[in-house]
Symmetry: C2
């Protein structure tokens, strides 16, 4: 009994910690939850307060349903879902009336067959349409609502005479529910999609900067020991970028949708706000970051590689490699700060520092080529091969022990060459990122770059 | 006028071609669409046929709604959504009765306040709970249905006396709709999640094989010209693997869920079918393929790199690199075939071929080290630097022209070393893939490997 009590308590403790963590990660989640609760309570008043209930009646339930389904975290998502729901309902309503008009003419059985066929055809066609990637991405919810409303009206029309009343009530309650959602998400602590995009871009830049630093430090410090913590840090940094693609695309899509919606009419304040966000350019930045992150993945791959260049050789180039990586990280952080503070930056200053570091690495490679490229060691570097064997011993599977005997003869310099090459490649990719962020800064009309902002 | 007609015709043509393409890609989509149409027609009969309608009444609409929402492409997804909907409804129903019981005691106004508070609290709590990643992933739909049903019953209870009737009808119609969906998706041309997973694993293996081959051929043949077609092929191959993670996870999750559901009871035929699928192992294979694909991305990065080793040097190692890549591709195809035909394979035979190719590359690197590692050329290889400058001229942005002057002094051998290193790394990663597929073959009880199956 005591045991069970203990277990329940531990279970609750875990649930509480998980919940607290979710809230701490993003306090806006708590606010959003309270907003949904408030919206639901308000929409329930339609049912609870007598005069309101008499005006709307049983259909008030449909408004509650709309609030549950439409209310999303960001303004953009709420607007998108609301538009989808509204358009789907309207379109289905129009089509259903057409079908009803045709079905109205002859006998009862023909009517039933006609309705059945219409349901079958529309059901099959809309389901098929949802497989088209473009529809799936933008209008999946709208198509589902279309099918739902169409069936509701068409099938009801067989038993209920006044279908027009059903349709009218449904549209009215959906409008009430949708309107309430919009008001709640636009006016009370709004979460703008643009802000989300802004924040996610900043955190991606900083994550990559952390990744690179951790990567290089680990490569030169203790590559033999498995350091899970730094591995986690590296992984988290680029994983955020690799995973963010579809989430960002949704945000951008919503942004562009809303921009169009607001272009049509609406209040100037929001319109101005949304117009100032260069949605497409955020996408460009995201893509350059994605490509950049592939080189980080490859760099991380060099750490995890089963074939390693001996530490003694790596140590020769340690300083210049770390310096280059640090300059790259610093540049990424500078870009993140530029976006965060909405200030332009000087691409020239960033490049100069990186070029200097690159030159330094180049000098190092030149000054000690005999070890790195040492063709004399290549054939019979017994000491080095000894070293290599140590790394190899970590390989456990059967097959790799067969590879082992072959591949250890391959130049032990190859892995380090790959590592250096990835660093250099990273600089080239960083260049694209700098360009994209520079364009973003110009399109967003960030504040001018001032000399006192300069990187120390 | 004619112009507009032409445009409409072209628009329809495009829509038709898109629709045809979607169907051609996977003919099961057409079947599924017809199935949904049929299910909707059948459920509409509840409304259209008089005796049925008299039994169920207006609530038949709720069954239609359930079919629209629950019917998914695979058996697993349908079951998952059905279970979510069923559990959410039942749980909300129980809780709503508790609330109603408490609210039943005192005066009218207190009752309204109590209901309003309950709606607010439950609304806020469920919305918050949906932010927890584990819930979001597995039960998002169920939690939404819970909130929906709870509000429906609680709020209705204020105006309607017989809430039990509402709840009963709702549960009954949801059961009818859900049951119909299950029957349709289980019995009529079922699309098993396991089959999906099986097919997606095969196509991923083959896609990677194509990627690698195209990569290596392009690297050695005409790296100067931009060949969009082969670029597309390379990109498609690894993109499928990079993108598949969440889709596969959903399938695996569904599989495990269903396995648990079927474990409890149910017909032995399906139970046996689902038990034979080693869901978790498919996940392991997916993860090893993901890591493998990172090296393919890096290899592709070597092609797109702005710094290139001169073609004359690359040509020296062309044959052995292409051979190694071809062995790797062949091994991947062999694995795909093993999964497709449900036959075990011989890891030994695969490794032997690859080792031979690896040895060959090693010999080549050894026999001509003076060019690859040429420390004499390193300092002042004017010809080679001339070559490098050609590749550099393709870099257009301002910043990179600054990098150019520095980094071209970096050894021109680095990029090729990276390329080779990635190839060797790929062999090491392939090893993991082979192990994972081997385990999969054993866990799935694939047919024994026979000698006549051996790779020619």
């Amino acid at each position: 009994m005591n045991n069970a009590g203990e277990r329940v308590r531990r279970c609750f403790g875990l649930a509480w910690r998980t919940a607290a963590k979710v809230g701490k990660e993003d306090p806006r989640r708590v606010v959003h939850s309270l907003k949904v609760g408030l919206a639901l309570t308000l929409v329930s008043l339609l049912y609870l307060i007598k005069p309101l209930f008499e005006g709307i009646g049983q259909n008030a339930m449909s408004a509650v349903l709309t609030v549950v389904v439409v209310m999303e975290f960001t303004v953009g998502a709420t607007l998108g879902k609301g538009l989808n729901r509204g358009l789907g309902t309207l379109l289905a309503g129009s089509l259903a009336f057409l079908v009803e008009y045709v079905a109205d003419i002859p006998g009862r059985i023909f009517q039933a067959v006609f309705i059945g066929s219409a349901v079958f055809i529309l059901g099959a066609v809309t389901t098929y349409v949802r497989f088209i990637p473009h529809i799936k991405k933008n209008y999946d919810y709208g198509v589902m609502i279309f099918l739902l409303t169409f069936n509701l009206i068409t099938v009801s029309s067989y038993r209920v005479d006044n279908v027009w009343a059903i349709a009218k009530d449904r549209i009215a309650t959906i409008a009430i529910g949708g309107g309430l959602c919009l008001v709640m998400s636009l006016l009370i602590f709004p979460n703008w999609s643009g802000q989300e995009l802004h924040n996610s871009t900043i955190s991606k830049l900083e994550g990559l900067a952390n990744s690179i630093q951790a990567c290089v430090v680990r490569y030169f410090n203790d590559s033999e020991t498995q350091d899970d913590e730094s591995d986690d840090l590296i992984y988290k940094g680029y994983k955020a970028v690799l995973d963010s693609k579809s989430k960002d695309e949704t945000l951008i899509l919503q942004g562009c949708e809303i921009k169009q919606a607001l272009q049509a009419s609406w209040e100037p304040r929001w319109s101005r706000y949304w117009h100032r966000i260069p949605w497409r350019q955020y996408k460009t930045v995201g893509i350059t970051l994605l490509h950049f992150s592939y080189t980080v993945v490859a760099l991380h791959g060099c750490l995890l590689s089963e074939i390693q260049t001996p530490g003694s050789i790596r140590a020769l180039y340690k300083d210049s490699c770390i310096r280059l990586a640090e300059e790259v990280s610093k540049a990424l952080r500078e870009l993140a700060n530029s976006i965060r503070n909405k200030r332009q930056f000087s691409p020239q200053a960033l490049s100069d520092n990186i070029n200097e570091a690159l030159q330094h690495l180049n000098d190092d490679l030149k000054s000690q080529p005999q070890l790195f490229l040492g063709s004399k060691n290549f054939g019979a570097a017994t000491n080095a091969e000894e070293d290599t064997r140590v790394s190899f011993s970590s390989v456990k599977s059967d097959c790799s022990s067969m590879f082992e005997s072959k591949s250890k003869e391959l130049s032990y310099a190859l892995p380090f060459a790959a590592f250096t090459s990835m660093l250099v490649e990273m600089v080239a990719k960083l260049d694209r990122v700098i360009d994209a962020v520079d364009d973003l800064a110009k399109l967003s009309h960030f504040g001018e770059f001032r000399d006192e902002d300069e990187i120390e």
